[in-house]
Each structure stands twice: as C-alpha cells, then as structure tokens.
C-alpha cells in the first residue's frame, strides 16, 4: 500500500509540475506580454517600464522558477485589473464554488445510483429503459441552455425559486441541478454495469442460497462492491464540474471562482486566469489522488498493479 501510494504521489506531483509549466507558458501565447498589458497605442517607454515592473525582461526559465517558487509560498502574483494579490481573491471565492460543486455532485449521485441499481436489478424492464432514455437525453442537453430553461420555468413562470445570487440555500438548488445532471448519465451507466456484474457473481448466489432477504443481498452485499468504480468516476466528475462551473456561475450570477474566471477573461487579466487554471488543476490532481487511495483501500486488488 505504501509503495502504491508513493508511486501515485510521484505521478501526481509530476502532473502538477507539468500543468504549472503549461499555465506559465500562457504568458507568451500572444507574443510579448508587456505589449498586451500596455494595450494598443502605448509608447515604447511605457512598454519597457511594464516589462521591467513585471519582470518580463529576465530569462524565461528564471521567470518560471520565480513564479513557481512564489506560487508554492501562496503568492500567485498581482491582478492586472484589480491591483490586489490574486491569491486573496481566489481563496475568498473558492468556498462558494466548492459548495456549489458539492451540492451538484450530491444531486447527481442521488439521482444516478438508485436509477442504476434499479436498472440493473430488472434489466430490460420499464425502469431500465427509462434510465437509459434519461441518460441519453441528459448527455445531449447543453448545460447553459438547461440552466436558462430552469430559470424560465421555476424562476419566472412558477416563481418557486430565486433566479440569481447566493443569499440562501434555495439559490443553490437550480445551479446544482443544472450542473449536477451532467454527472448522472455516466455514473448511472457505471452503477448499472457494476451491479449487473456483481449480481452474477458466486458470492451473491451463495448469499441468496443462504436465504438472506433480497434487500439485504442487494444493498449490503452487492452495492458495496458495485460502487467502488463509481468513487473514482465521481472524483473525476467533481473536477470537471469545478471547471464547468464557469458557465453555470455566469448564468446564475454566483460569485464563485467560475464567475471570477469569466470576469478576468473579459478583462484579459492574465495572472488571475493563470492562477485559476492552476488552482483548479491542482484541486483535480489532489481529488483524483485521494480517490485512488480510497479505491485501493476499498478494493485490495487495485494495490497490486
């Protein structure tokens, strides 16, 4: 287990390092970053000043090293437009996005796992077909359009839920549904496939032959093994959702990391964009690493490979 964990940790660190390199290189996507900051029609002296002020006149490797070193110490640079440390703004907004993500994944899982189990218990039944149809429909629905439709139906026509903002828990219902339904199809398919496989195995037959109640066999014996792969998938999907929250937060005007990302993209605030990409990537790396560990703990067979 220790060797397995160390190996995974090494890969995770390497991935984080590569991501930081890619993120840093965004500085040079447009050519000269100093000219981008100065804007059109700037004088040459101004550009030179900006270049010195932000340190773009140093060798690239030195710049990267400094940037990485500062980032490791919690200093992600200063925002071009807000003139404050990027890290402060990000950590102020991060909890909102994490909360939204947690609500969304909870919704997705509570929808998908029972449906997947039901579909697997009676394959080709009405429930199975309903679940598959929902999965196909869910995969085809554009997130932003679904969000707008929810606003229109539940916010405007029925007036059940608040449309924008984050004043109360009710504000998070629609965004969480719009973000979370995305997760459901994949999780449902995986739960169904896992349950079908487990239900056909010998130990389930033994449990049934012993005369255990069907419910106990289903939930205590079968589901426990069938959801192991779902753990990894849910972690991956949670990471994707943090990235996808930019669309939902813009629609519902939730002041989280996604909305911040959209604002800084509008203002071409490069340090802010870089920091958000970096933070979200690192959160993804950490979450998938933890999920790997949890998986290895739940299923000893994984540790061997």
């Amino acid at each position: 287990m220790a060797i397995f964990a160390l190996k995974r940790l090494g890969v995770a660190l390497l991935v984080a390092l590569t991501v930081s390199l890619i993120t840093f290189s965004m500085n040079y996507l447009s050519g000269d970053p100093a000219i981008t900051i100065a804007g059109e029609g700037a004088r040459i002296e101004d550009i030179e000043n900006i270049r010195r002020y932000y340190g773009f006149d140093r060798p690239i490797l030195v710049q990267y090293w400094d940037w990485l070193w500062n980032a490791l110490h919690g200093d992600l640079g200063r925002s071009y437009s807000l003139r404050v440390p990027v890290a402060d703004v990000i950590f102020e907004r991060l909890p909102t996005t994490m909360l939204l993500g947690a609500c969304a994944i909870t919704f997705g899982l509570t929808l998908a796992i029972p449906l997947g189990v039901l579909a697997a218990v009676k394959p080709n039944s009405f429930f199975d077909r309903l679940a598959l149809t929902l999965a196909v429909v869910g995969q085809a629905m554009p997130t932003f359009w679904f969000g707008l439709t929810l606003i229109l139906v539940f916010g405007v026509m029925l007036r059940w839920l608040p449309i924008t903002g984050q004043a109360s828990w009710w504000n998070f219902v629609m965004p969480a549904v719009a973000l979370g339904y995305n997760v459901a199809p994949a999780v449902m398919r995986l739960t169904r496939a896992g349950m079908l496989e487990v239900l056909a195995s010998d130990y389930i037959r033994t449990a049934r032959a012993k005369g255990l109640r069907p419910m106990k066999v289903l939930f205590k014996h079968a589901l426990r093994n069938a959801v192991i792969p779902v753990v990894a998938l849910a972690a991956v999907q949670f990471g994707f959702m943090l990235g996808g929250s930019i669309v939902i937060e813009t629609i519902f005007q939730i002041n989280g990391l996604g909305y911040l990302a959209w604002e800084s993209i509008q203002r071409k605030d490069l340090p802010m964009m870089q920091a958000i990409v970096l933070i979200l990537s690192i959160i993804y790396v950490v979450i998938t690493f933890l999920a790997d560990m949890l998986n290895a703990f739940l299923d000893p067979r994984i540790r061997v490979t």
């Binding site: 447009s30 995969q139 997130t143 707008l148 439709t149 990471g239 996808g244 490069l270 964009m273 990409v277």
Partner: protein, 311 residues
Amino acid sequence: MAETTITRTPLARAGIQTAEEILAPSPGAMMRRRVFGHFGLMFGAFVLLAIIAMAIFANVISPHDAYDQQLGRKLIPPIWHDSPKVTWNHPLGTDHLGRDYLSRLYHGAQVSLLIGFSAMIISGLIGTVLGVLAGYFGGRVDMVVNFLITTRLSMPVILVALAVVSIIGSSLTVVIWVLGLLIWDRFAVVMRSATQQVRSLEFVTAAEALGCSHLRILLTEIAPNVMNHLIVVATLEMAHAILLEAALSFLGLGVQPPTPSWGLMISEAKGLMYFDPWLIAIPGVALFMLVLSINLVGDGLRDVTAPENRS
C-alpha cells in the same frame, strides 16, 4: 457443421444451393437487419441527415438572408404563437435585430457541424496516434502517453479554451484548433485499450513471427480491428465539440457576431428570454436534437458492430 458439408458437397459441386442456404440470411443481410431494426440508430441517422441537409442547402432553403436586419420587423413570434404580428413570411419569427430566425437556424447548423467535424478530426488524429502507439508498444511509451492523458484531464477544458481564445483572439479557425487540441483524451484512452486487446490476439503474434514490420502490423492487422471503436468515439467527440463550441459562443468567446451560431443565438436572446422565451427555446432545441442524434448514431453503431458488447 460436418453434416451440412456432407449433404452440400455434391449439390455445391453442381452449383446448386440447398434450401437452407437459400433461406439463411447472408452476413450482409444480417447486418442490414440489425441496422434497420435498431430504432435509436435509425431515428438518430434520420435527424442527423436532416440537419446535415439543412446545413448543406442553407443558402437555397433559407426564406431570407440570415444577416439582413429589418428593425421594423423585429421580435415577431413564431407561427404557433397567438399574436397579431405572426406571419408565414417568418415561420420561426425574427430576432431582436429583425433577422429571420429560420434562416439563421439553417446557417447555424453549418457552423455547428463545421466546428464539430473539424475539431473531431484534429483531436482524433492526435488521440488515435497516441493511443495506438501506447497500446501497441506498451512499456515506456505507454507510461508517457498515460502521463499526457492525466495531465490533459487535470486541466479544465472550458476554462483553458476561454483563456486561450481570449488571449489569441476569437475566430472560427481559432475555436476549431483550440477545441481540437484539447479534447483528444477520450480518443487516446479508448484507442489505447482497444489496441491492447487486439495486440494480444494470435494473428498479431503470427504476423510478428512472419517478420512483418511494425508499420505493416499497425496498418493491416491492428487498424481494421480497432476501427469500430474509433468510429464510436469519433461520433461522441463530435457531439462533445459541438456542445463546447456552443458554450464558448454563449460566453461570448466563440464564434463572433453576426455569424449565426446556435450558442451565440441563445446568448444574444438571453436578455429577452423573460418576454420572448422562444428566442432561446428554438436554438436550444436545435442544439439538443443535433447532439442527441449524433449520440444515438454513435451508440447505435456500437450496438450494431459489436452486439456482444451491448450494455
């Protein structure tokens, strides 16, 4: 088997088929039967072909110029609305600038299909090469490719795409390249495992024993056997690219106005949706139908080409 051979031989020599042979469906007929009997595939293919036809003949079938603004005729509701402004001249009504919505819908199909298809080709090339090499050679190559896939997955697609587009500047070509360079991960994952499976089969070992070169084995032994997986992923990734383009355009960093893109149409109508909800409903339904049909075709092709893998 032996029985049929015995009874068949004399007749076959004389060029006569037995009743069983005549009645039994040929492999081609079996395939056709599976294809035409698959509801999802048929429905998806029908809708997809209709949308492709819409895109190809957009200039011919559009009742009006998709860019022509007539502010005197703005915000006419579609014909099923109960309003005095409704006219058959604009079956789906007009937008906030008085442009014919049906014509814009037809032209939007062009943008979606063009971006979806091109981005799919680019990402397919990258992902397939990486995945096949990893699956075929294994070892270090596999490790490197796996690392690349993990790194790619850890970066949030929409955010990176938005950031890059905002730095470089937005155009159709930029959107296609950015999406193409970002979404190759699923191609690589699927092609890697498909190649691994085929690689361990006897006929590949036989080809190696005969002294075939790697290139020859990859092209003549591996490629035909992973093709069905490739087609399925290709359809799913095309749908993925179309959804991403719509999201980028919706956020204002994809296709730029006045080009009609379904995502952009929804974005432009966002402020008016409380009063004229059809403005977001129509392009949204179009987008939904396009992605649904592509996904149905992909799922259907998987069922038809590999019935034993049916989920």
